[in-house]
Amino acid sequence: MISYGHHRYPGRLFVVEGTDGSGKSTQLALLYQWLRSEGYSVFFSEWNSSPLVKDTTRRAKKRRLFTPTTFSLLHATDFADRTERDIIPPLKAGAIVLADRYIYTAFARDVARGCDRGWVRELYRFAVKPTAAFFFRAPLDVAIDRIAAARPTLKYYEAGMDMDWSNDEEESFKMFQGKILDEYDHMVNEFGLTVVDATQPIRTQQRQMREIVSRYLKERLKAKEALER
């Protein structure tokens, strides 16, 4: 098993992170369009998308079967399948992989639910370290307003209702998102996340993102040229 930070692949892995409503998916979609138009092979990998695990997760959410530990472990299982199936093979082939949410989502959510920080990090040790991880940071009230506008009802686990913090969904959701945001803030230095101010205009954020991504792609091209010479 290769541990985090020790994988050596010719491809590049860029991930976006942030609370719900931070606008990260929009930014990743725009990045995808741009990279495709530049002629790169780009693969897209989404959180919670493993065909082997999806049905189990869906059923468990519906029937409220999760404990914080099994929630954490089943999401890690899903992520492992994505890593083995969708992330490592394209990276080996030299492609660009874009991931909407990555291990930092699990670290934030699971710790907010009471899982041990060290245990969760150990659990995901098999993950490939991203080339760059963008953290779209929106203040709590902004994120909550955006979600409230987009979705009239909150889902049970999304609102952290399993934790019995509050009987009020909105109240529980705010507490949960607050804890998640705290965890993200802790991780900025720990994992070297690139912070993007998510209150800026979409175009500004995208420009910042493209600048950073192109830097990593240029490095790669330079290295390739040097090799050919």
Partner: protein, 261 residues
């Protein structure tokens, strides 16, 4: 009553409190006869008046079906497989085993974390990684390891059971042999090596499973009797030396109380 002790970090949302039940693990290779013995032990324990819960891998409500479906496709990656099993284990631990132990049941488990650890290591997982994940496990009151040194004998037992060789239990995903038989033999050898390493680390009671079913059953009953009948209030006090020796032998249950029988 016995305090709950975990191998590593206890699960969040689990109240660490004394429990009156007993957690008894039956470990051993594929085809060694674990499930036969668990069934026999259950009958024996129940007829003596003990409430018994039996459990085993992939029997969780949460992940059991998902694992079975994933296994049938043969597209299950190695790390994914280990984590799916860990999910299944955590669900059974929190929702079956711990509640039963608190209620005073004898929990008989057909395999525990040791099989999962051995399988993961044989498949290239980092031993520290898989052990850290299973740090959530409760330290059992006793672990009986049904040991059979000859994979060829195991293969014979698997065939006699009428089920034939299973893709995963033969380690076919590892590419160890050209056919199920060769692969099974090579795979079981690797697993045995891992199990043998764990004997001292986890304090297994080793039971020689090459003997007849009856003799293995007798050995298991004797071992389990020691675990469930320690420190009976009526125990005679005039022979403290013998009592102390006995206590050492039955180390895992030294502070447990007996379940009414």
């Amino acid at each position: 009553m016995k305090e709950m002790k975990f191998y590593g970090t206890a699960l969040p949302n689990v109240e660490i409190e004394p429990y009156s039940g007993k957690l008894i693990v039956i470990e051993g290779a594929d085809g060694v006869g674990r499930s036969t013995h668990v069934a026999m032990l259950r009958t024996w324990l129940e007829s003596a008046g003990n409430a018994v819960l039996d459990t085993g891998m992939t029997r969780s409500i949460l992940a059991g079906r998902g694992i079975k479906n994933a296994r049938s496709g043969h597209t299950l990656g190695r790390i994914t497989m280990q984590l799916y099993y860990a999910t299944d284990f955590a669900d059974r631990l929190q929702n079956q085993m711990l509640p039963a132990l608190r209620a005073g049941f004898i929990v008989l488990t057909d395999r525990y974390i040791y099989s999962a650890i051995a399988r993961a290591i044989v498949r290239g997982a980092d031993p520290d990684w898989i052990r850290a994940i299973y740090g959530m496990a409760l330290v059992p009151d006793a672990i009986f390891f049904l040991r059979l040194g000859s994979p060829e004998t195991l293969a014979g037992r698997v065939l006699r059971s009428g089920n034939g060789f299973d893709y995963w239990e033969s380690g076919m995903d590892l590419g160890l042999g050209n056919d199920y038989y060769d692969s099974f033999i090579a795979y079981q050898k690797l697993l045995l090596k891992e199990f043998d390493r764990m004997i001292g680390e986890y304090g297994f009671h080793v039971i020689d499973a090459s003997r007849s079913i009856n003799r293995v059953a007798t050995a298991l009953r004797r071992g389990i009797s020691r675990v469930i009948e320690t420190e009976a209030p009526a125990a005679p006090k005039e022979n403290p030396k013998i009592a102390m020796v006995e206590k050492q032998v039955t180390k895992p249950a030294k502070d447990g109380s007996s379940v009414a029988s």
